[in-house]
């Protein structure tokens, strides 16, 4: 599990995150939802140490990420799988090389063992046989799935996903959502998904934090979300006519 306690973050005069505390539970898909510019991406970048916090604590299974030494932070980071909004595949490497990259960097496995692991991960995301394609030769949905395969290749304890569905059609988006949830259950990992896609929320939202103007305004699950009387949350969730009709 990952716990955030009293996180504060400023970018010069802009108070981006205000007293954020939340527990991301193990074996569940934890969602951070909110409008664009609400502070979701900053929060996820703080979790992975790309932004430093002004005050507060981030605990990875009790280990305070910000107080451990840089070397220990690097080791901890090897236990984190990250799915970026655009996939962030290395465009000069093939699909196979992209997935194999963490294995090359951090393990002493033989080529055959590494290839076996890569093929296993590709199979897990239903993308067998595309090993030699380059990132520019695959679709957006495939890019996301390859990125998931790369994120899980080292068998991480934590999986962080930033807007995994952005730019995808609804059908592919659901496939990605379900894949993330299946992997979470299968490996019993702590998964955090940063999204503003309400379809995702309804599909996989087990533990949700709603962020608005840098603060957590609501916590709960997808069932509680539909019945909440929080005005700001309702404005966000039921912004579309479809969801308004669903509520009524």
């Amino acid at each position: 599990m990952i716990e955030m306690q009293n996180i504060e973050k400023h970018f010069e005069d802009n108070h981006v995150l205000k007293n954020i505390s939340f527990l991301f539970e193990k074996g569940k898909t934890n969602l951070i939802i909110g409008e664009s510019g609400s502070g979701k991406t900053t929060l996820i970048k703080i979790l992975i140490g790309l932004h430093k916090i002004d005050s507060g604590t981030v605990l990875f299974d009790g280990i305070d990420f910000n107080t451990i030494k840089t070397k220990q932070q690097r080791i901890l980071r090897q236990e984190i799988g990250m799915l970026f909004q655009g996939g962030a595949l290395y465009d000069y490497m093939s699909v196979e090389e992209n997935i194999m990259f963490p294995l090359n960097m951090f393990t002493e496995k033989t080529e055959a063992e590494k290839l076996e692991r890569v093929n296993f991960c590709l199979k897990r995301v239903n993308l067998e046989g595309i090993n030699n394609l380059m990132p520019s030769e695959i679709s957006g949905g495939m890019t996301k799935r390859v990125a998931i395969a790369r994120a899980i290749v080292m068998q991480p304890k934590y999986l962080l996903c930033d807007e995994p569905n952005s730019g995808l059609d609804p059908k592919t988006a659901i496939i990605i959502d379900n894949l993330i949830q299946e992997i979470t259950k299968e490996y019993n990992i702590t998964t955090i998904v940063n999204t503003h896609d309400m379809n995702s929320v309804m599909e996989i939202g087990e533990n949700i934090a709603f962020i608005n103007k840098g603060e957590i305004w609501w916590k709960g699950n997808k069932d509680g979300l539909l019945n909440s009387d929080n005005k700001e949350l309702n404005n966000f969730v039921f912004a579309s006519k479809l969801f308004k009709r669903l509520k009524n």
């Binding site: 790309l50 980071r77 984190i80 909004q85």
Partner: protein, 246 residues
């Protein structure tokens, strides 16, 4: 002034990260070979074409400016040799490579930054600055001297061809090439080349690594890398020449 100090601070803090032991030597070696190909081998044809024609033009211009019958025609070979070794090959070719290699380094790293590929490296626990930039610096420092030596050789062939068209005989030209040759000129050119290679790779990498924004920012990083590298090359050309030849 404050902006300059800010950039210098960022540059040196990046370089502190760059100069560290690679995470894994086998991966580093592969990266290095890849960079040698990108930085060096891909520039060979450009260097050959430029050096040949500039060498030819230098000798034709030298011959054209030596109207007096009192001046021996072997001076064409001598003047071409010294121009190529002392200035054209190390400085002018470096300036041209600042455009080709520098913009390529800045835009490659810049686009990796904006597409979150650098963040992906950091999250894996990899020192992204060292992983991406160190092989480029080593590849340029290692390969540029070869390019410059080759440029000198090809430039002299061009100068010979240019000399022939200006009625300078091969014997006279060769005599001029060998006349009172000071091998320290080569050492001087190599010292300059190594400095310039470091400037081109590290400055361009700096602009790429600190790119913020999207495609326009990547373009700006490429331009800033070329402009700054070129100015620094000219500045260090003056400083090094003063220190070494004065």
């Amino acid at each position: 002034m404050i902006k300059l100090l800010h950039h210098l601070g960022l540059y040196f803090s990046m370089m502190k990260k760059v100069i560290s032991k690679p995470e894994k030597w086998s991966v580093f070696r592969k990266q290095l070979v890849l960079e040698m190909e990108k930085v060096g081998i891909n520039s060979v044809s450009l260097v050959i074409i430029l050096s040949f024609f500039v060498g030819a033009v230098v000798s034709i211009q030298t011959a054209f400016n030596m109207d007096s019958p009192l001046l021996p025609s072997y001076l064409v070979g001598l003047a071409s040799r010294d121009s190529l070794i002392l200035e054209f090959s190390p400085t002018m070719i470096s300036l041209i490579l600042a455009g080709k290699v520098g913009s390529s380094i800045a835009s490659e790293i810049g686009s990796m930054r904006v597409s979150e590929q650098i963040d992906a490296l950091e999250i894996m626990g990899i020192n992204s600055a060292s992983f991406l930039i160190l092989p480029k610096i080593i590849a340029t420092i290692f390969f540029f001297p070869f390019l410059i030596i080759m440029s000198m050789g090809i430039g002299m062939i061009g100068a010979w061809a240019g000399g022939l068209s200006a009625d300078v005989t091969t014997a006279d030209f060769m005599y001029g090439l060998k006349y009172e040759f000071n091998s320290f000129y080569i050492t001087y050119a190599m010292i300059k080349t190594i400095f310039f290679a470091f400037i081109i790779s590290s400055v361009s990498a700096y602009f790429g690594y600190h790119t913020k924004g999207g495609a326009i920012a990547v373009g700006k990083a490429g331009t800033s890398a070329v402009v700054t590298s070129s100015i620094l090359i000219l500045l260090f050309n003056y400083i090094l020449t003063n220190l070494i030849l004065s």
